[in-house]
């Protein structure tokens, strides 16, 4: 695909960050709601923009493009930076009567 804007072609969805983040979290974060510390936009991680090809995964706010999360994992360990996230909300799992 020849696009004049290589940045656009690199962009994925936060959904694709859910696998790497599952190395750290016990919940699937793709439906977790994240509030941007910059503009206070609230959206599911899956609706965020992901730039996966840097040294770290970089997740940006879909409204203001501020960096809300960076995550890196390699043989030395894992690093998570969330300075740009005001709030991360994980809904309670559906309960099963039993």
């Amino acid at each position: 695909m020849s696009s004049p804007d290589e940045t656009v072609d690199r962009r994925l969805d936060g959904n694709a960050a859910a696998g790497p983040l599952a190395e750290l979290f016990t919940v699937d974060l793709s439906v977790a709601m994240m509030t941007c510390g910059g503009c206070l936009n609230r959206a599911a991680l899956g609706a965020h923009h992901l730039y996966p090809d840097g040294p770290a995964l970089v997740v940006r706010c879909p409204a203001c493009t501020a960096v809300v999360l960076r995550f890196a994992a390699d043989r030395s360990g894992m690093r998570l930076e969330m300075t740009g996230t005001r709030l991360l909300t994980v809904a309670a799992p559906p309960t099963t009567a039993g």
Binding site: M1, S3, E6, V8, D9, R10, R11, L12, D13, G14, N15, A16, A18, G19, P20, A22, E23, L24, F25, T26, V27, D28, S30, V31, A44, L45, G46, A47, R75, P93, P94, T95, T96, A97, G98
Partner: protein, 245 residues
Amino acid sequence: MARAAVRRRLSWQPAEVVAVRRETPRAWRLALRPPDWSGHLPGQHVDIRLTAPDGYTAQRSYSIASPPDRPGVELVVERLVDGEVSTYLTGELRAGDQIELRGPIGGYFVWPDPVDAPVQMIAGGSGVVPFLGMVARATDAGVPVRLLYSARNADDVIGRDELERSGTAVTIAYTRAGPPGWTGPIGRVDATVLAASTVAADARPHVLVCGPTAFVEAVTGWLTDLGHEPGRIRAERFGGMGDPP
């Protein structure tokens, strides 16, 4: 009494390759059997990791093509000219091999639950793969379910059998050539095609769009112009690496 969901970290597991079958001239279908598999939701994906003898690793995400009621996991992998992972998966991998897999992953780009409105799926090229596991649900959905699928030509159509068996109303937009005897239009999906071949915005459908990044972003822009609420559009981009559909 409420039962707490079991929460645990997902980890890599070796999955046996049960079959490798050519799906189209450019895509292969892999059937995998992970030992620890609790089932999946249509639309979820797995991560695949390859490790070279020197320890170098590469991982990619692939949508699950098979419906949940089939054992194991099927993926459809498009061979990309410079794809370091896809060329291995589509050229070297054989039945009986083992491959590292992590999943199922993702609760965002999945079949809507509850299905309280029509469902419109829009695929560019191999972006149809997550929808193959969803179309089987169309018959039971009780709401209109439509798929608009942009494909280069008839040979490149992935999952033709599943699509034909399903209760989904499928419109294929051929971008380069139609099947023999085709008298319909040839060309890329644009705002006009979307308006003519998708559920109208006033029906407030759930809209799922999957394909190369440029395709997804063009389509979601047109959908918004047509009056669809951005909050009802869910997108799955797979980057710009793929050939245009």
